[in-house]
Amino acid sequence: MEKRNNIHPPKLADRFFEWYCRNELQESIQGDLHEEFYSEVESRGLFKARLKYCLNVIRFINRHTLRRKPSETYYHLTSISMLKNYILVTLRSLKKNLVFSSINISGLAIGLASCIIIFFYVHKELNFDDFHLKQDRIYRVTNSYERASGTIHWARTPPALAPAIRTSISGVERVTQLRHADDHTYSVGENIFTEENVFYADSSYLEIFDFKMVSGDKSTALDAPNSIVITEEMAGKYFGSVSPLGKSILFDNSLNLQVTGVIEEVPTNSHIEFDFLISFSTYVVPDGYLADLNSWNWAGFWTYLEIAPNAEPEAIRNSISKLYDRDERATNLSINIEVQPLKDIYLESGKYSSIGGSIRVGSKPTIYILIVISGLVLLLAGFNFTNLSTAISLNRGKEIGVRKVLGAIRGKVATQFIIESIIFTLVSLFLAVLIVWLSRPYFISEIGIEMPGDFYGYLKFFPLFFLVTIVIGLLAGAYPAFILSGYRPVQALKGSLKTSSSGKWLTKSLTVFQFVVSIGLITLSIIIVAQMSYIKDRSLGFDKENVVKVRIPRDYMENQFDVMKAALLQNPRILHVSKTSHGFDGGSGSGSARIIGEDSEEGRQLAYYQAGYDFLKVMDIQLLEGRFFSEDFASDEETALVLNESSVKDLGLTNPIGTEIRFNNRDRTVIGVVKDFNYASLHSEIAPMGIVMPFAVPDLVVIKVAPGPIGELITSVQNTWNELDLNSPFNIAFLDDTIQKMYEKEEKLSRLITLFSILTVLLGCLGLYGLVSFSIQAKLKEVGIRKTHGASINQILYLLTRQFLGLILVANLISWPLTYFFANEWLNNFSYRIGIEWWMFAVSGILLLTIAMLTISNQAIKTALLNPITILRTD
């Protein structure tokens, strides 16, 4: 026997033979071959015997020995009649389990619909600014300052930068700069409106970016001073049906602007949002700024580049950096220049401290969260579908048995289930598109998701949806197909099918996964809602309640503000009145600041507000040190500077009061320090900022009112307004509305996530329902036998529910760390964030447990109450 172990036929040849030879002949032929081999070894030696063995294996390949393709013996998958049969059987089983099947199909449809909706949202966010033909060659120049407190990113650059790039940097084909025009009034005849989305721009702007001109010449429209390009919507608003070209619009009741072009509506996926473009040559630096367009330290302009097709952005960045390094511009030594590709501008706007008005900002983390959520919802819906389909199919033992007895091999039975699953998913897709279509108005108005309103918009993505659906159908159908086709005919014909332990393991893990996701999403939505209300209610640093903003014309503000203030204060409900350049809606001025007497030539950008007396009283901003502007000090108008805490830290001042600072080309003295307040978004860190008395005329009046009926108050203010006879639209806003608007996006996001968490819980319960029926069916006999032996209903209920309690517990344990991680990542995007607390997890855990128990007990009680005879008699 020892010898045997070493002398054996070549294994590779053996394996090859086993691979090709039919099972029926394999044993006898291989036996003959081996027998011959061993006798050959004795007569002719090992080597020759092996050689002969190999040759024989090859010689044996012929029509008698080769394996036949299984399907050849039966029927083809592509056979139309078989396909017809599959569809017929699908419809029959749909009819037989109508309620269960429709729950199943609609569950998947809801899942698919939410994915389609999120898809549209994400698709738009990821394709911002993609309508510009030269999008790959457009860059924005931005800068950042390294500070002890961190890096401060600034999206705007000085006015001298664009001309310098134009004249001295090669590889740049076009340069343009934009200046936001703040709020002004525009009028045609009697029609007078205040417009916010207005920029100063030159013709290069229209040439670099592709906004469609309806009339006017792109290349010259913004060349001449006092030219204005308006959108079609504005043309309708100001001129009605009359062609606006060549007509004029009166700017601030003082300057006539001639309409030189009309452009189509700015697409909603443009990061710049404007209604008017005024030619850059019209722009005059307001009196009091003490800066001009040759400044290198007034970072208040957006600079965009169109680079040559073969130019290297990195090389251009280097040359731009060198522009700053020249001696005469040395005020900004520690500035880092960045050239930001157009496609990043929207999504990566989170890091900039001061973006400026009329710029749309996106949020990458939000997109990631949504992609993760939609992926989870899709997975969840798919798992549900699998669980429910399997549960439904458990009653189809007889069908499977008959099919098998009539000669269906395993693959054919599996095909039936897979085709069924694909048919179901396609029906779901159809329903999903219907749901999306019907819920469109809601998502557009409440959540701000734009969805195509025409057929083509959907058709364009249809192949993608179709493909995803088919894949889900295949995957979801594969499990029941695999399990159910494996039963032996006798077993199957007996009727009820029992689940194998391996099958249970899989369904169990699918269910645990569903719970993990459900718990995670509930917790996440709790955290998001908590964070949003935290942002809205606390830590603004000022009181947003009971503050009214009124916009008045600048010429009136300059001469008549005191008259107005006195008139307003007549009303006992009006407590304080002040004026300000910016209204807490994200915008601010910015200028360079340097401590006088310090060697450091380093320039810092300081955001600033220009505000009048009583500003702190109106806004309820806390004064930490020193004093605020006062009429008792005549010099305040020219030289006083109030800093916030951050700028004190940034400038490194230990004893700030009395420090002399050259700010915006004026020497000023710090008279007070205020607590940090949020003048921009709570997403960003509060940037260093200062408050000065207005050096340019502001246009906002802020009024603190006593709490009480709003309507009455508005009427009172409007009466004062009418008495003053201002030639300007009455424009009143509540500060809390403004703040609300700033966090609209988050608000909508939290609504969306809440919606989806409700959805996933629903889906999770559907899946649970399926699983419960699945496993109760398998335990039916056990229940019957236990009852005949005298088990009480409570004992039966315990038997049926305990395993699910375990599953939910496991799901909680898995879900907590994952949710903690995701929530923490998201919260880190906010400078002011809540902590994650244990009760958030507890609430979601208990909530899910309750819902799950309701789902389970419905089935369990029904089963426990069954008469044991009806169960046991079936065998």
Binding site: E27, S28, I29, G31, D32, R59, F60, N62
Partner: protein
């Protein structure tokens, strides 16, 4: 009825009849090599056997494992009634032809 038998098939069929109830692929191969002193491969004998089975001249059953075969069972072939008739028919044809040879030719 016509019984078509190739020369090689006839030999194999004869040997199946000779090795009554003991005939299988290798035994027939060995017999051909020893009795007829003619070299033949295992696979061609097998092929002939399968062909004969298709024609209904032999039938096969599984049985008789030995240790040389690693415990694998043999496919044992036995001749059927049809097979016997085919052999007889073939012999008759030969006999007829034998009888037709003129005496003179035999010397």
């Amino acid at each position: 009825m016509e019984y078509k038998l190739g020369e090689f098939e006839e030999i194999v069929l004869l040997l199946v009849a000779v090795q009554f109830k003991e005939a299988y692929g290798l035994s027939i191969t060995k017999a051909i090599e020893e009795e007829l002193e003619r070299s033949v491969t295992l696979s061609s004998v097998h092929t002939a056997l399968y062909r004969l089975e298709e024609k209904g001249f032999v039938k096969s059953e599984i049985g008789g494992a030995t240790s040389e075969r690693g415990g694998r069972r043999k496919r044992l072939f036995t001749i059927t009634a049809t097979g016997l008739k085919a052999l007889e028919a073939s012999r008759e044809v030969r006999n007829q032809l034998w009888n037709m040879i003129p005496k003179t030719a035999m010397g």
